[in-house]
């Protein structure tokens, strides 16, 4: 009976030795990357290019930070969106924050959203609104919120708008008021 007890004690000693020896190795000092706010990865000074179905550049997003989450949603800050379809006439949108819902390519801009149209010889426009959806597939932007627009000698206000980047046109949906200065 005695040899059996001796063998068990010896086996226990070996196991303990292995366990402790593993622990006494030099600690792993490579820094563990942390990502903010539960994102699984994030980009700083990010630039995202979007192409349309025909492979032409649709729009380009630049953001100070772009947080991407496990459900494939994303949140961007300090955004600028350029629609350079026609190089000299372009729409530029800017906002404090943007969100891309899970599984979507649309971007919801919010926080002091401005849309500037560089008319290159035509009337320049600046439109402001509290929030705006960029519909990537349709190359449009739309909101149901109030908008105010200014162009040289012209001021516009309405509730709800749709912007068509490619066609350089916009629909004002409700309660339209316009002033033309002589």
């Amino acid at each position: 009976m005695r040899p059996l007890v001796l063998m068990a004690a010896l086996a226990a000693a070996v196991v303990i030795l292995l366990l402790t020896r593993g622990g006494s190795q030099a600690p792993d000092d490579t820094p563990v990357a942390t990502t903010p706010e539960g994102s699984n990865y994030y980009l700083l000074d990010a630039q995202v290019r979007q192409f349309n179905a025909a492979g032409e550049p649709a729009y380009r997003i630049r953001a100070a930070s772009s947080l991407h989450f496990p459900d494939e949603s994303a949140r961007l800050t300090d955004i600028r969106v350029d629609y350079p379809r026609d190089v000299d006439r372009a729409w530029t949108l800017a906002a404090d924050e943007g969100r891309i819902p899970a599984g979507s390519r649309d971007v919801r801009l919010s926080g002091d959203v401005t849309a500037d149209y560089n008319g290159a010889g035509r009337r320049d426009w600046t439109i402001t609104t509290p929030w705006l959806w960029i519909r990537a597939e349709q190359e449009q932007a739309e909101t149901d919120a109030a908008i105010v627009g200014n162009a040289p000698g012209q001021r516009v206000s309405a509730r709800g708008m749709r912007l068509r980047f490619g066609e350089e046109s916009l629909t004002l949906r409700n309660d339209v008021e316009v002033r033309y200065q002589p």
Binding site: R122, E168, S169, L170, L172, E177, Y180
Partner: protein
């Protein structure tokens, strides 16, 4: 002339490419004492800033309130279509056009009214002659002066120029 042009409507389509804006639904254009209303308005602005407004309605309604520094005549009117040239302040009424002023009325297929100065020209249509109704002086005070044009003058086959009488 110095007044801005204000437009209200339910909806609008604005083309940056062409510079043309189209307003639909309860459209009202006001400029100082002038008020035009209809169902559809197209506004274009030329490169030098000239504004041209084309209004359609069922019918288009025109109202111009008396203006203190002018002859004080209030104007009302209607037509199927109306063109307003902001630069030279001209109203062109087209289709069943009627313009009323201090009780006097001008009817024709087309009427052109010069807001500055108050001059009015009326043109007949294919089947509608120009008709002018001038109220007796006592009943309505100063009105539009013009001769009875049952037979249009030889050189002006289709219209009547009714200068604003003093």
């Amino acid at each position: 002339q110095g007044f801005p042009i204000d437009i209200e409507a339910d909806r609008a389509e604005v083309s940056q490419k062409t510079g043309v804006s189209t307003y639909t639904g309860n459209v009202v254009l006001t400029r100082g004492p002038l008020r035009l209303s209809g169902s559809r308005l197209t506004v274009s602005r030329s490169d030098d800033g000239e504004i041209r407004a084309e209004l359609e309605g069922e019918p288009v309604q025109i109202r111009r309130d008396p203006d203190d520094d002018e002859d004080g005549a209030a104007i009302t009117g209607r037509a199927n279509r109306l063109t307003y040239r902001a630069a030279d302040a001209v109203l062109e009424l087209n289709g069943s056009a009627v313009l009323n002023r201090d009780g006097d009325a001008v009817r024709g297929d087309r009427i052109r009214h010069f807001l500055d100065g108050g001059r009015t020209e009326a043109m007949r249509g294919d089947d509608e002659r120009v008709r002018i109704t001038i109220q007796p002086e006592t009943a309505a005070g100063a009105g539009v002066e013009g001769e009875d044009t049952s037979e249009p003058p030889a050189d002006d086959a289709d219209g009547t120029d009714t200068p604003d009488g003093g």
